[in-house]
Each structure stands twice: as C-alpha cells, then as structure tokens.
Symmetry: C2
Subunit: 478 residues, 2 copies
C-alpha cells in the first residue's frame, strides 16, 4: 500500500494546478440555495459536478427531489448520486458532500469577488464555497483522477451523495437517504463526510460527536393589536414584560440552564472521558480569538471544550414581533415570540427535553399571574450524534492522517449539528466518520471564506489515503 | 353674543357641503412627512393651505425650517404662520395644527382609498388625515369663512401655526416657536391646540395634562461579531441573556415599576383630585374595546384612568440586534439593545428619572457578574405637562362645549405626549388648552382613519364659539 500511496501522492502534487483550476470553475458558479433567483445556478452546479464525474468514468444519476416545500413554484435541485467501482471483493464507502453555498456578495465586505477564486501570497484560496463544501467534494473527484493518472487501483467501491440544499436545511434529503438506504446505498460498509473543520489551524482532527438542537418559540399575546405606550402604558398587561420575565429565568450569565431536571438527563462524565480533553490541541487564546473578546464563561480549556461538546447549552436568539429597528418607537407589541434553543447531548432524549421545557415555561408563566396568553412550541429538534472513535472507520482515518500530516489527529466532537450525519447512521446502520479538510479560520459562513492551498492538496491526499486504509483496516469492534 | 353665534352656527350648517369638500381636497394630497418620496406632496399641501388662507384674507407667511437633520438632501416643509386681525382691543389667540399625515396605502388594509375622502351611510368620513389633523386645521379656516359669510365680526385676533412635520418628530419646530415667541407670536394671550381626541365617542372633553416620556436604550455587547450557538453555546457569555435578565427586573406584569425611588417622585394624590375620576365618561368596556382583549391591569375605571393619566408607566418596546424574523436562526447576537421608556408625570424631573434608571440598571448588571459590557443611554426625554383647568382659557372652552354640544365637557388628561404643548407654554408663558374635535374611535394612526361628519361640523362651530367665549371670559386666575 505504501508504494501505491507514494505514487498517488506524487500524482496529486503534479496535478495540483489542475485541481485548483477545478475548484476555480466550481467556485465560479454561484450556487446559492437560499436565493430563489440563484436556483438555476444551483442546478447548473449540479450539472457541472455530474459532468465532471462522468468524465472520470463514474456512474452518475441526478435524482429529483420534487418541489420545494412552502415554495411550490421552485424545483429542488437534484441529489447527485454516483458509484465508482462495484467489486464485491472491496469495501464500499459512502461519501457525502454538498454543492450549494451560502449567500455572498462583494457589498457584504469581501476583499475579493466572492465567486472568483483568488489566491494570495500565503496560499489562501478565497471564494464562496472554497471550503464549504466545494473543496472537499472535489477532493473525492480529484482522488479518483489522481488514482487513474497514477495507474493505482482504486482501493474501494465509492458511493457518492452530493446534495444542493444543505445551506437551506437539506430539504427533502432525509426521506431520500432513507428511501435509498436499501437500494443505491445498500452495500455501504461505512460512511465518510467531509464537511466540517479542524478545531484549530495546525492539527488535523477526526470528529465523532455532534450536539443536537431543540429550538423553541415562546409566544405571549394579549391585546388584539399593537398599542401606543402613552395611551395604554400602565393600564394594559404587556406581553413583552411577561416574555422577558420568562426568558430571564431560562439561563444565567454563566450558561447555567435553570430548567429543573435537564442536567439529570446528561450522561455522567467518566474519568476516562475527562482525561481526553487535556491533550486536545486547543487553548483559551484560540477561543478569545474566535470570540474577538475575552467574554468566555470558563477560564480553562478543558471546561470550555466540555461545555462546547458534551454539556447542553441554552441560547436566547431573539424576539419576533417587538420593535427591532434602530431608533425609538413607543409601541406596546401585542404579540411577541421569544426564540431560544437548547443544544442537546447524550443521553438527552428530545421528547424528554420538550417535556421539561414546556412544564418549566408553563410554571414560570403561571407565577406571573398574567391575563395574557402563553404558548410554547418546538420549532424543530435534531438529535445529538456520537460515534465510536474506536471503529475501524476511525482507526483507518487516523492512520491516513498520520501518513499525510505526520501527526495523530485529535479526536473531537462539535457543538453544532450536522443533521445528515445522524440520518446516514440511522438509515444505513453503519459507522459515520467526519473527516474535515479545512481549518478553523476558513470562515465557512462569513465573508472572505477561504481554503488553504495546503489543506486542499494535502486534503486530497488524505481522502485518497483514507480510502486505502479503510479498505484494509481490520474489524476490531464497532 | 348669542345672536352672533346663532348666525355663525346657521352659516356653518349651510356651508357644510363646502366645508366637507374643502376637507376632501386636503385629504387628496398625500402629505406623508415620514416618506422622503412624498416630501413634494407635503410642500404642496402647505402651499394649498396657505392659498386657502389667503383667499380668506388672512396674512400668511411660509417660513422655511432648513434641511432635515440626518437627511441633508431634504428640505423640511415650511411652517405656515398666519394672522387674522390685529385689533389691539381684542384678545389674541394662537392656534396650532399640522398639515402632514401618517403613512397610508390601500395594501395596509384600508377599506377605501386612503387619500379619497369616502363618506359612509353613518356619516363617517374616511381618509388619511381626516381627523389627524386636517379636519381640525380646516376647522379654523371654516370658522373664519362662516363668520365672513354670516357677517359676524370675528371676536379675536387669530394667530395660526401649522407645521408639516408633526408625524415625524416636529423637526425644527421647537427652535422656531422659541424664536418667534417674542416676535410673530408676541401678543398671544392664550394658546389652543386641536390635535387630540375625546376619551370616548359621546362626550366632548377638554384636555389639561399630558404625561412625559423618557426613552432609554440599554446596550449589552460581548463578542466582536455574532456567533453560532452550536459552536459557542456554553462557552461564551451571551449579551442577550444579560439583557433579558435586566429587562425582567424593570417592571412586573401588573405594571409596577421596580426601580427604587421612582414612585417617591410622583405627586401625591389629593382627595380633591381623586374625586374627579368618578365622573369621567369612561368605563372598563371602553378599555376592553380599545385593547381588543380583557388583559387590563386594573379592573375598575378610576384606577385605570389614574394609571393612564397621573401615574408613571414603563414599557419594554423591543430589542435591536437580535434575531427578529419569523422562523429559526441559531445565532448568538453579539450586541443587543433593549428599548424601554417611562411615561412620566408630575413631579418627576427627567434628570432625576435618568439618575435613578442609570443607577438601577448598573446595579442590576453588576449583580450578573458578567464580562460583557453594558451601556444605558437616554434616547430622548419629553416632559409631562399639566395646565390649570380653572384658567379662563379652559372655562371659556367649557362654555363653548356646553353651547354647541349641550353638555359639560369632561376635564381629561392624556397618557401620551404632545411635545409642542409644553413648547408653546414655555415659549409664550401663556395657558395652553387642548380642544379636541374627533372621537376615540377615529383611528388617527391606523387604517381606516375617519372623522365623523357630526364631529367635523359641530367641531367647526365649537372652535368658532370658543373664540367668542374666550374673547370675553373674565380673568379669574391663571
């Protein structure tokens, strides 16, 4: 395998300009899924991707997902599914990525044109979608091409699933994955997703856990219409007063969730797990840099990582229906809707979280003895996900990282959620690995999104090397 | 005087179609001061009004107010000042009104075209500005015309001040009034403003008090930019958490202000004042109808009227900088600005209110032991106003009401503020009377704004009769 990888790596290096050009062509297509007017570009991006795959001899299908929910005039962009190889002797690895991107325009403050790949002297390749997720998606294609040109046998059967709606809630994808789990994806042995980031900028990682998210709306209503505070202030009970009083009792400044029973749902911290956090390549300066301030809850790294990865958190996102503009308006809003969410972790069952939230909020409202009406609803819930990092899918990836980057990867979890991860795990019943290409400073959803040249080129090697190691990794446990 | 009034009243009745047509022509000009694009219509309305006055032989001046603050590309519409009569033997009454209107468009839900006066079978005259404030402004012109056509001598010298920016903060007016107090307005004996409403629909009133308003911004900031709650929830102190905890401690569901020392600033309730509230034509059903709900703080009329007129109230209007749209967004806002205001009453000095608010908010923030930054500022303060209803300006108006409507007016205060009232009082040093024409159901700032035909026609008589009574009312006290 070592000789094969050497040839493959050398080929990647010699094709690197070609691969960067491929990324340039992908970035040039503004496949913004959230913008109705850009839908033809999303479809064009899918067509381009399918065509690139076909040129590599990959079997490709463009699968329609029907009309977009709540926007029946819009077709969803197709899911591009593809198969490269169908040798029964080989393992079959299913990889996922997305070809749509976040919105971007020069006016937002980009230093360069967002849809023109612009490479600076430090090798930073700026462009919308460079790191999220066109770079990683093309990584799989580039790995195939480098194998072909190097004359190295492809080590696995590769199934691919590339969607075009990830940045807009992956509309329609869950049903599709579930429907294809026993069809197109039937012989999957393991799943790999490259759509997240290193914890920092220097050390690669493998990610084995994500928090879930339960998002709530808390509506308080009273009068039939907005009132003038001069005329009605002091005579009407004000929904906004009730709302802030309930929101104020959800969580404290140091992030302590005040909802009784919630903490008891959290899996206890074992000594073994506790010991893991010390070695992670992360420090408080990394956090302060991301925050742009020192307004952290904890002052040490271990507590910070645990708070991000393995404990729940509650954030109040905003209020709908109140005065939200600059300036002054003397309105008493008639109906206000507070938005808050809880990031969930093992072993919090979403339905238990709902039950505790609804009861607590009701109790708090009851205490106010208000004549207004209160209604608390769940907007959406995505469950947390934790895989076993001892699974052969992870140990193979770990070896690949060591081979390419010369260091053991950190085993990380993430505070956010990538809902498709759990969908793949549940639909296929197989282990899912998150194998990031980019680093923490890539600014996936921000202005000046970039992917470092090094992360792209070494990342292509990493994805290819992973497929070699995972092809042969002995099954120890799951 | 009785004969003169009879002739005047008869003339008003016979000219009523003409007067309604004058209102129709005024309503047809969409003089929306808040809409930059409508500024030429505001100016056109001012020109039209000046021309109508000139046709009646009134001396008119259009006084420029310069550029609009923060919108230097826009000229403010002129103040129309006018004088009718300059007989040293007569009293001089200064009246104020405004010729601009609130925004309106059919799409907002109007049943008829907002800028076409539409009269229904009940005599309701729908149209933007009908009651606020074109009807009352034209009332003064109509009264002059009816005197002329009836051959009745005009009883006073009438000074008029009609502005075109009232619905947009009366930009530039205060300075103008102060500058003209000893010039154009120098011989003013009393001031009358017709720009408010009856407390209900049946009984006329005279208004002798208004609450003030001190409006605050409470800003909490932490991180340098908005954060993702998945990545940072549990590790960063969240400004929104701190903000709701402070807002929650400002006021309770029943309107009790929790800021120590504020209640002590309020003038004590005398037995004499207390006795006044029982007779006011108002009941709880009126309140419930306005609210469109029964979510009142108090269950009886007296407490409700006192809460509206003579006690302070605190309203939380909204939050700037947080997620305020429908749907779900998992943002941790980096900087949030809570907006709240206190309606002030005698004897609350605005600077004392500021001092107590700033201290309390600081203390509350201190208690949170937060690393975020807090900054509380006053956006604007308008002082409360209370006049003596025993002044001859009021007793004259009271007689006029009795003559026209056959009933004693209620003596009311209002919960809101009309800042120009205090400006006129302070600049001229004279008594100011609020003499409303329209009723509580006119919907001044809402869709389907209207003025009842009866209120308009009898209102013209009332304004004219007031001028007769005020011309001869003996000076008892001020």
């Amino acid at each position: 395998m070592d000789t094969q990888l050497d040839s493959f790596f050398a080929q990647v290096d010699s094709l690197s300009d070609h691969f960067i050009d491929r990324l340039r062509r992908a970035v040039a297509i503004p496949s913004i899924s959230a913008d109705d007017a850009r839908r033809p570009d999303v479809v064009r991006m899918g067509d381009w991707l399918a065509h690139e795959l076909e040129k590599l001899g990959v079997e490709v299908e463009k699968r329609p997902l029907g009309k977009q929910p709540h926007k029946e005039y819009l077709d969803l962009p197709p899911v591009i599914i593809a198969r490269y190889g169908s040798n029964k002797e080989k393992r079959t690895i299913l990889v996922y990525g997305h070809y749509d991107v976040q919105p971007a325009s020069k006016e937002d403050g980009w230093a360069s044109e967002p849809f023109e790949l612009t490479i600076d002297s430090k090798g930073r390749m700026f462009g919308r979608g460079s790191t999220d997720d066109k770079g990683p998606v093309l990584g799989w294609l580039n790995a195939i091409e480098a194998h072909q040109k190097a004359g190295v046998e492809f080590p696995v059967n590769l199934l691919m699933c590339f969607e075009g709606m990830e940045e807009y809630g992956s509309e329609g994808l869950d049903e599709f994955i579930e429907a294809e789990a026993k069809k197109f994806f039937a012989d999957t042995d393991a799943v790999c997703i490259s759509d997240n980031y290193w914890l920092g900028t220097e050390k690669p990682c493998l990610t084995y856990g994500l928090r879930g998210c339960s998002y709530y709306s808390l509506e308080i209503s009273g009068p039939a219409q907005d009132l003038h505070s001069g005329v009605f202030g002091g005579t009407a009970q004000e929904p906004m007063t009730d709302l802030v009083r309930i929101l104020a009792n959800l969580v404290d400044t140091n992030g302590k969730i005040l909802i009784p029973g919630l903490a008891e749902l959290v899996a206890p911290l074992s000594e073994e797990e506790k010991a893991l956090y010390g070695d992670i390549a992360f420090n408080m300066e990394n956090l302060y840099e991301s925050l742009g301030s020192k307004t952290s809850i904890h002052d040490d790294k271990e507590k910070t990582l645990m708070a991000r990865w393995r404990y729940p958190s509650l954030s109040i996102h905003g209020v709908e229906g109140c005065f939200s503009q600059p300036g002054a308006k003397t309105v008493i809003p008639a109906k206000v809707i507070g938005k808050f969410s809880i990031r969930t972790v093992p072993n919090m069952e979403p339905k238990d979280v709902d039950r505790l939230v609804f009861k607590y909020v009701s109790d708090q409202f009851e205490k106010l003895k208000s004549k207004n009406k209160m209604n608390c609803t769940l907007q959406h819930a995505g469950k947390w996900w934790v895989a076993s990092p001892k699974h052969w899918n992870f140990t193979a990836a770990s070896r690949a990282v060591e081979r390419v980057w010369g260091t053991q990867p950190d085993l990380t979890r993430e505070g956010g959620s990538i809902p498709v991860t759990l969908t793949f795990e549940q639909a296929t019943g197989k282990n899912v690995l998150l194998l990031p290409m980019g680093s923490s400073t890539d600014g996936a959803h921000s202005i000046n999104e970039k992917l470092d040249r090094k992360n792209y080129i070494e990342g292509i090697k990493l994805l290819g090397a992973y497929l070699h190691y995972v092809a042969h990794e002995p099954i120890i446990n799951t």
